[in-house]
């Protein structure tokens, strides 16, 4: 009911804005030269990686020696069509999210993007560092202690040398961040994703991933690091966190223009998660698929 009221208000607000014939809105500059340089670099890095992997007797192959898991066959693939019993609700939520994004979230994020880069990266790092606490807990629950330790090291380094998390020193020390959450923990414990679920304001998810998201928030709220989650500033910080996340996502609702966008996003979200689950359950030795072997010549 609350959602219906809120969405009604926002729809009205949108109707008000939509009356002009033309709107011209500056978006972030494009940087073609740098983009192309990055493409050259990543093409080269990829070619090098392929060359290294296909070299006989490389370290990668030696590690994979103890009885490899069998490869998946096409028959093992989950159905192409997604379990979506709440489709009607989901579709309306998707639409609500799109409108909210267009009217509120995206304009705010675009304004935020004009702030100087050091400030933005400081904010981004700060929230990333807070989330590290949750990663430590969840890697432990997943019994992936190697990664848990890495998150713990990151947390320690960035909180101290990185001045409360404003600078990501750990990444520079070759400890790259690999955040995880309770959704992945549930997956590791063998919980099925359940029905597809579009969460208001957050977007595509499944029942399991939605519960995971709630638990992540609950954990942070419970631990309440530095009193940030329950103090007077918590609303402001939460908003800033959301804006920072949005500003770092290159997605625009309905830029596909397609009437099938809901279906496409659902397919991609659910199947991508299923593949990630596959990796989770057999992260240890897997037989190398043929296609990964000598690429190129």
């Amino acid at each position: 009911m609350k959602w219906a009221l809120l969405s009604g208000c926002i729809a009205l607000g949108l109707g008000g804005c939509a009356s002009t014939v033309i709107s011209i809105r500056r978006v972030p500059d494009q940087t073609p030269a740098a983009d192309n340089a990055a493409a050259v670099a990543s093409a080269k890095a990829f070619a090098d990686a392929v060359a290294a992997e296909s070299a006989p007797g490389s370290a990668g192959e030696a590690k994979a020696a103890p009885e490899p898991m069998p490869l998946l066959s096409p028959a093992d693939a989950p159905p192409m069509y997604t379990y979506d019993p709440w489709e009607r609700f989901n579709r309306f939520t998707y639409r609500f999210n799109a409108r909210f994004d267009e009217a509120v979230f995206l304009p705010v994020a675009n304004t935020y993007r004009r702030a100087p880069r050091p400030i933005r990266s400081g904010i981004h790092n700060f929230f990333g560092n807070l989330a590290e606490i949750d990663s430590v807990i969840n890697y432990t629950l997943q019994w992936r202690l190697k990664y848990g330790l890495r998150s713990l090291e990151r947390l320690a380094i960035n909180t101290t040398i990185g001045v409360g998390g404003l600078f990501d020193v750990a990444t520079k020390l070759k400890l790259a961040g690999t955040p995880t959450g309770f959704a992945t923990t549930l997956a590791k414990w063998g919980m099925h994703p359940g029905p597809y679920l579009v969460i208001p304001l957050l977007g595509p998810s499944t029942l399991r991933d939605g519960i995971g998201f709630g638990a992540d928030y609950g954990a942070e709220y419970g631990i309440n690091p530095a009193g940030l989650y329950r103090g007077n500033v918590s609303w402001g910080l939460g908003t800033l966190n959301a804006v920072d996340q949005r500003a770092n996502i290159n997605f625009r609702y309905y830029s596909s223009g397609s009437p099938f966008e809901y279906e496409t996003i659902r397919f991609l979200y659910v199947h991508r998660r299923l593949i990630e689950d596959q990796g989770l359950h057999s992260r240890e030795p897997v037989k190398k698929p043929a296609a990964d072997a000598p690429a190129g010549k």
């Binding site: 014939v21 033309i22 709107s23 011209i24 809105r25 500056r26 972030p28 500059d29 494009q30 073609p32 030269a33 740098a34 192309n36 990543s42 093409a43 990829f46 990686a49 490869l71 998946l72 096409p74 192409m80 069509y81 979506d84 009607r88 579709r91 309306f92 639409r95 990664y147 690999t178 955040p179 995880t180 957050l202 977007g203 595509p204 998810s205 998201f213 996340q245 996502i249 290159n250 997605f251 625009r252 309905y254 830029s255 223009g257 009437p259 099938f260 279906e263 991609l268 979200y269 199947h271 998660r273 299923l274 593949i275 990630e276 057999s282 897997v286 698929p289 296609a291 990964d292 690429a295």
Partner: protein, 444 residues
Amino acid sequence: MTVSACLQLIPFALLLSISAAAAQPIQPQSLSAAGPATGLADSAGLRATVFGTPPQDMATLPAKVPLSEVNIELPWRLPLPEILWFDGKLRVWLSAQDKPAPLAIVISGTGSDGNTKTMSVLRAALYGAGYHVLTMPSPTFPGFIASASSTGVAGDLEQDGHDLYRAMQEILAHLPRRVHITHIDVLGYSLGGADAAVVKSIDSAEGKLKIERAVMINPPVSLFSSVGRLDRLFAASIGPGDQAVELLYRRLYAQIANLYRASDRLELDEDFLFGAAAATLKTDAEFSAAIALTLRLQLIDMFFIGDLYAKTGVITDPKHPPRLGDSLADVQRDLRARPFADYFSGVFAPYYLKQRPGATSASLIAANRLDIIGNILSSDGNYFAQTTGNDLILNQRELAWLEETMGSRLVVYDHGGHLGEVGERQQVADMLAMLAGRWPRSGP
């Protein structure tokens, strides 16, 4: 899983359709049995079509290109179907210079909007050369059909040209004064190339924009014969019906999951998928499947929307059009399995035959060939074209027709396939020379 992971999915979609072909153990002979399914394409052409211009071969591009998103409501828009509520305004993209400058209007390829990767490259090259740049979606893009088409049934060269021309006038009339335009040129790639030439020819008659030059990049000569060839490519490389698509999906899933399990990634991201695609796409048949599937997915929307507007009842019941909360999964499944020829026979022809008394299916197809402006193309020295010797959307006869018609105003590169040469130093230099009137002319 957080929001960020949820939302970074659109590029993923594109990649998925490209890497889809990775899963194809098709026999090469099934392709050759279908005849010249790929037009002129050879192995290198197919590869270039899938992977595009190698970044190291790119022309020097500017460090920074400002960009504005322009949304405009067009007065002639048809009543918007409920489920297309988000497509009510035409969205185009403008990069304006600070000083008086010529305006280059660039039209996108089949089913695409005005902000594709190819478009970004052309925009950067043109902006760097001192043009204001306005990039527009293809008239076959769902957002254009809903917001700017006067029929709702896209794919007719002349009708689409008129809709584009009107939309351009409306946009230019509403641009802020600080955008000082000295003169206008039009360009387009793929189907957009043909559109650009038609727009210029309309302008020659109506004179409202005084377009100076037009450059076509990898244009089709006949839309329906190009798309027909791609239909055959789909049948040969993927197979008929939805079962073939399902099979393709299963193979693809297994392949990606296996690659992912063998990697030490903690998240399935874009980089990984790029890698997976590049590592697994090897044979002509795999490239063909990638190209065919990408095009099929691009055309599905236009088919669906055309049927919705023309009320032809091929896809949805005109008396009960789909509503907001309705699932479209079955419709999408149905459409994926249909060749483009069904769009012509089920939606396009019935609609235009009713609109144009005396027309026949054959005359409709003929009206969609570039020869409708053949006379102007051969006599007016302000039309130019760039294509490649192995572009799969042309066959020998069509390429010969272009050469004969355009003479020295056509340049044919010996590599690149379809659009795999866009942004290369030579292509950019030639394009700019053509626009600046520095291209050798020897038309009749």
